[in-house]
């Protein structure tokens, strides 16, 4: 049964851990996106570099997080860096591949028209290719964000100072499966993931009205 008394006494702690959870996840996705964006542009410009970049991101993704925490603690200590490095690393494979796929998905005739009208390479990238890649980029961000929100919970294994809502899950477990505390960690974490996903869907609808424009009355 739920221990309502415990919940009432820990509202402040739950709020604090929720905020920490959002912070750790947002930082990881933001840094991951910045790195992925640069890598994807390099890969899109120099196609030969795409296979190695993609392979490297894939290999990083296979490293178990717990092993990585253990290895990093000896280098970066019990710092936020130790928590963020794995979070960032795991976003790369999703984000790089989605950004590259988005750029690849721009129709050839659109690129030809852009070139033929006198866009420089940079103008073509920023005015034509990236805007058209937005739906796939956002799809990557949704996936990366949801998985990062899930991963933040295990940063609690580094120390009690991290973990976001995952702290409650670990702490409840150590207390001999104290379910109320474990739910207090798990449920808000799930809601965060759902909320973030919904936020991205909304934002995308707003920035890509063209993707939802359907034929109204098509007459020649």
């Amino acid at each position: 049964m739920i221990d309502w008394g415990w919940l009432a006494g820990h509202l402040d702690a739950i709020a604090y851990r929720t905020a920490q959870h959002v912070y750790l996840a947002a930082l990881g996705v933001a840094i991951g996106f910045a790195i992925s964006f640069v890598l994807a542009l390099v890969a899109a410009r120099h196609r030969a570099l795409y296979p190695p970049i993609s392979a490297l991101a894939g290999i990083l993704y296979t490293i178990p997080s717990l092993a990585l925490f253990a290895a990093l603690i000896s280098i970066t200590g019990f710092s936020v860096v130790t928590a963020e490095v794995p979070l960032v690393m795991y976003t790369l494979v999703i984000l790089v591949r989605n950004i590259v796929a988005g750029l690849d998905g721009v129709p050839g005739e659109v690129l030809e028209a852009a070139d033929g009208m006198g866009h420089t390479r940079r103008q073509r990238l920023w005015r034509v290719e990236l805007p058209l890649a937005v739906p796939l980029i956002v799809a990557g961000l949704r996936l990366a964000t949801v998985s990062t929100i899930g991963l933040v919970t295990i940063t609690g294994t580094i120390s009690d100072a991290f973990g976001g809502l995952g702290y409650f899950i670990l702490d409840g477990y150590h207390r001999g499966n104290f379910l109320t505390e474990m739910y207090a960690g798990a449920l808000p974490s799930i809601l965060l993931a759902l909320g973030a996903d919904l936020l991205f869907v909304r934002a995308q609808r707003r920035v890509t009205p063209w993707a939802h424009a359907r034929a109204l009355e098509a007459t020649s």
Binding site: E109, E112, G116, V128, A218, S220
Partner: protein, 397 residues
């Protein structure tokens, strides 16, 4: 746009232009090679490059705006070598239309039309005004289309937007790569006619690529027939290509029906019309009867009081006394005007099962009659093809 700028048109010269590819690794549909192409497109004319796939027509086109660089030779626009120009700057001065249009799906129609003005840094208000002006020009109501996205338009509408976009910065030269190839035949016909109407107004220099010889003949002031391997087989006005193909390849390419094709190049106004005996309603029947019997043609053409044809009256049915009544006239020959093509005229005459078409002016008044014999005479090989072609350019049906 100042009037003078709108009249600008460029001269394009190919000087021994070649483009070769390493043949081993060419995929199907890859650009064709070009072999020593030399030709000059005069200012304000439509030059159609036509030939089978792999003849290098698209390659020739794309070398003008440097989407493809020639292996050797020079291309001059108004005397200046394009190789000496900055490629992006050059392209902003040349209108470019492609078969798949290539509108930007993420931008509204208004923004799509204003792409080049935006690249050129025009003020936003001027971009908007120009986009609306051009949408109207190509027959799309700006209020209705400006804020839509390309996905909301039909193929024909998209193609019009593509033409409007290419015209945005009022370029002296337009490159059009099979611009009407992806729409159905009825829409294509309409777009072609609109294009000719537009060109009659704008008088741009236009390089136009197609694989369709009928389109080439219909649209071109000059037609360059190219053969696989990038050889120019013939460069001449369409009437001359039909009347005197320079090689067996050209003769085959224009088809065994090239005599019929010439019919669609010539308009009624270019053929000598025959006079005919006429009389108006209320005229003396006896006098009209006498005149009709004096003429070898056994019919009288009855006109209304303002000179518009009503119908034929067989000479034997003209009463000897009284006046002419409308009820005497029997069903009409088709009414033609001076801009009807001989092909359409002949078709209408065959449909009506008559040997004679009545040619009227814009107000419906009689100009004369066109006979099947006159059509045949106009197409006789001895007839000067340039003479026939005289007025065909730029006149939309």
């Amino acid at each position: 746009m100042p009037e003078q700028a709108a009249r600008r048109a460029a001269i394009v010269e190919y000087e021994h232009v070649s483009k070769s590819y390493a043949t081993a690794k060419l995929p199907r549909g890859a650009p064709g090679a070009v072999n020593d192409l030399s030709l000059t497109v005069p200012a304000g004319k439509i030059c159609v490059l036509v030939g089978p796939s792999g003849c290098g027509k698209t390659t020739s086109l794309k070398m003008v705006n440097r989407l493809i660089e020639p292996t050797s030779g020079r291309i001059l626009i108004d005397g200046a070598d394009v190789a000496g120009r900055d490629a992006t700057e050059l392209r902003r001065e040349i209108g470019y239309v492609i078969q798949q249009v290539g509108l930007f799906p993420h931008q509204t129609i208004g923004a799509n039309v204003a792409v080049v003005p935006r690249l050129l840094g025009w003020p936003a208000a001027r971009q908007r005004a120009r986009a609306e002006e051009l949408l109207s020009l190509v027959g799309l109501d700006p209020a209705l289309y400006r804020d839509r996205y390309p996905a909301q338009l039909s193929g024909g509408e998209r193609q019009r937007v593509g033409v409007a976009r290419a015209l945005a910065a009022d370029p002296p030269l337009m490159l059009m790569d099979e611009p009407f190839g992806a729409v159905d035949p009825i829409v294509r016909e309409r777009l072609q006619n609109e294009f000719l109407r537009l060109q009659a107004e704008l008088a741009k220099t236009i390089l136009f690529v197609t694989h369709d010889i009928d389109e080439a003949i219909k649209l071109g002031d000059l037609v360059a027939v190219m053969q696989v391997g990038g050889h120019l087989e013939q460069f001449a006005p369409p009437a001359q290509i039909l009347a005197a193909p320079a090689s067996e390849f050209v003769a085959d390419f224009v088809g065994a029906d090239r005599g019929l094709k010439r019919l669609s190049l010539t308009r009624v106004g270019e053929v000598a019309l025959q006079p005919v005996v006429t009389a108006r309603i209320g005229d003396s029947a006896g006098e009209a009867r006498a005149r009709t019997f004096a003429d070898p043609f056994p019919y009288l053409l009855l006109l209304d009081p303002s000179g518009r044809p009503i119908g034929w009256v067989n000479q034997r049915h003209i009463p000897g006394t009284g006046t002419l009544a409308p009820s005497l006239a029997t069903p009409m020959s088709p009414l033609l005007d001076r801009r009807t093509t001989l092909k359409d005229a002949l078709s209408m005459m065959l449909d009506a099962d008559v040997q004679t078409g009545i040619v009227v002016d814009r107000t419906g008044r009689l100009r004369g009659v066109l006979t099947v014999e006159a059509i045949a005479a106009a197409l006789r090989p001895s007839a000067d093809p340039d003479g026939i072609a005289g007025g065909t350019s730029g006149a939309g049906a």
